[in-house]
């Protein structure tokens, strides 16, 4: 079916497949400019970073956000005993995410002034009620 494409800006400007920027898929040498290292020096950090068992060595650069903590952290550490090929690895991580959400909600609540005030009031009311019962 032949259709006119005159109304389409740039129609066919990348028609030549050999001239497309990601052809061939594996392109050597890379056209990347500005590389002045052979192997990146390892990042120095005291943050706990979990490493896949499928890595033969820890990659030199990594993120250091939110290290494992609490019960969810213990589950994550267990998960990383299994390879990425093992379904348990991923299911344990998904489970740890839910545990993390609950732990954090509890932690947020403990730090919230409103929750603290409500808790204090509740304890005071309960104490008065118990004291009243005891003194009858």
């Amino acid at each position: 079916m032949n259709r006119s494409h005159e109304h389409i800006p740039g129609w066919g400007v990348d028609l030549d497949r050999r001239d497309r920027p990601a052809v061939p898929m594996e392109r050597k040498p890379p056209r990347l400019q500005g590389v002045h290292w052979d192997e990146p020096v390892p990042q120095q950090s005291n943050v706990e970073v979990l490493t896949s068992t499928e890595h033969m060595r820890r990659p030199p650069v990594y993120g250091t956000s939110v290290p494992p903590r609490g019960l969810s952290g213990r589950i994550r550490r267990r998960a990383f005993r299994h390879s990425e090929n093992d379904l348990r690895h991923w299911l344990m991580l998904l489970f740890a995410d839910r545990v993390d959400a609950v732990e954090s909600a509890v932690g947020d609540g403990a730090r919230s002034p409103q929750v603290r005030t409500a808790t204090s009031l509740g304890i005071a009311v309960a104490a008065v009620w118990i004291l009243g019962r005891l003194t009858r």
Binding site: M1, N2, R3, H7, I8, G10, W11, G12, V13, D14, L15, R20, P21, A22, M25, E26, R27, K28, P29, R31, L32, Q33, G34, V35, H36, W37, E39, P40, V41, Q43, Q44, S45, V49, L50, T51, S52, H55, R58, P59, P60, V61, Y62, G63, T64, S65, V66, P68, R76, F80, E84, L87, W90, L93, L94, D97, R98, D100, A101, S104, A105
Partner: protein, 399 residues
């Protein structure tokens, strides 16, 4: 600083957190000027990506200004305005030597199957993201690209992911002149894939979705034919009818793991998590493409498994291509296309929102409210750097 932090499924919170620091001699710290919410951020937001820890800062689409550089950074200077590809990559590993920057092996301890991505869970390396006032940028000498003075900052921020991913989706389809290309998904990636398919000489471009305002937008913006899958009984049969019984030459999955369209797939993939998301679009793509055709996948799926009709793919002799976009290798060509008027990325932006309102913006984007297609978040004090925003209603049909 302020940052968009994950709290629990369907909940993010903008909170004060410590500013990032230089952690490696090749790092830079960038002050964020514009950052976007990506459709793939919704997978995190919905709690579908394993190892998404509470407190993580989201955001892998951002541009900004360099405010600090590490001791070994030579090519970037304080004050440079840069667009930062969503991939973090080292430039020297086996994969970077082959320009597969999204598959870099030197930046993600937590997984070998995934490269490093800003703000995309510990499965993608545990890096904080750019939906914040400041962000740490590793390998600053090769990752970021200085924004050319003639490039609009909103075009620049969409070059960090949306445009290259859409373009690579079309490229992986190996489109030839007058091919019929079917794109599943009328979100930002699908829209850009549709525009890119024309650049590669497609004869027909058909976009499939079920959200009316998005189909309306892409029909004018791409411009292309559209199909509302709610109005057809069987997707593959419908595409065959549209193509004289043969099927499309190329099918592109620009949806991923939260696809609508199949109650069974939603139940098993999204609700019960018995597979790594709903594989509806993979089914449609494999069954709608012609024998010997190409299926290109840029939709995001989880790391476990999906039930797909792989036997049909074998029997039809299909070529399946898929990857995260290697943004850096596409940028020179895409900047050229913007300059020549072949691509107009910023026209897909429908909302510009202060960073402080990120939670509302996530809710709106997730629920597809207010005709939302693309949302840009603007950190405090960064609003003065850009020209007057273009109102979404000013997007004119190209045809």
């Amino acid at each position: 600083m302020l940052a968009t932090t994950y709290r629990r499924p369907y909940r993010v919170s903008v909170r004060h957190v410590p500013e990032p620091t230089i952690e490696h001699p090749l790092d830079a710290v960038v002050r964020v000027l514009r950052t976007c919410i990506c459709g793939s951020d919704l997978h995190l937001y919905h709690g579908l990506v394993p190892d998404t820890r509470v407190g993580s800062i989201f955001g892998h689409e951002f541009v900004g200004e360099v405010v600090e550089t590490g001791a070994d950074v030579r090519n970037l200077h304080v004050g440079d305005r840069v667009l930062v590809p969503f991939n973090i990559f080292c430039g020297t590993c086996y994969y970077c030597q082959r320009e597969l920057y999204s598959n870099c092996h030197n930046v993600n301890p937590e997984a070998t199957a995934v490269g490093g991505i800003y703000g995309y869970s510990h499965t993608a390396g545990g890096y904080n993201g750019g939906q914040a006032e400041y962000v740490r940028v590793p390998f600053a000498d090769i990752g970021p690209t200085v924004i050319p003075p003639d490039l609009h900052i909103e075009d620049a921020v969409l070059l960090t992911d949306v445009v290259p991913t859409g373009y690579q989706a079309a490229e992986m389809g190996d489109i030839r002149e007058n091919d019929t290309v079917v794109i599943f998904g009328a979100g930002p990636i699908g829209i850009m894939a549709a525009r890119s398919a024309w650049l590669m000489g497609a004869g027909r471009v058909i976009v499939v979705d079920h959200v009316d305002y998005r189909l309306d937008f892409v029909s004018r913006y791409a411009p292309c034919e559209v199909v509302d899958f709610r109005s057809v009984g069987d997707m593959a049969l419908h595409i065959k009818k549209m193509t004289d019984g043969r099927g499309a030459d190329v099918c592109i999955d620009a949806v991923g793991c939260e696809a609508a369209g199949s109650a069974m797939q939603r139940l098993t993939g999204v609700n019960m998590k018995l597979q790594a998301g709903a594989a509806t679009v993979l089914h449609w793509a494999i069954n709608s493409v012609r024998k010997g055709g190409n299926v290109s996948i840029v939709g995001v799926y989880g790391p476990t498994f999906n039930a797909v009709p792989i036997g049909n793919a074998v029997n039809k002799g299909l070529t399946l291509r898929m990857n995260q976009a290697s943004v850096k290798r596409h940028l020179p060509r895409l900047i050229e296309h913007i300059r020549n008027g072949h691509l107009d990325p910023k026209a897909i932006i429908t909302h510009r929102v202060p960073l402080q309102e990120a939670n509302d913006a996530y809710q709106m984007f997730s629920a597809k409210q207010d005709q939302c297609i693309k949302t840009v978040l603007i950190p405090p004090g960064a609003d003065v750097v850009a020209p007057t925003p273009v109102a979404p209603t000013s997007v004119a049909p190209i045809a």
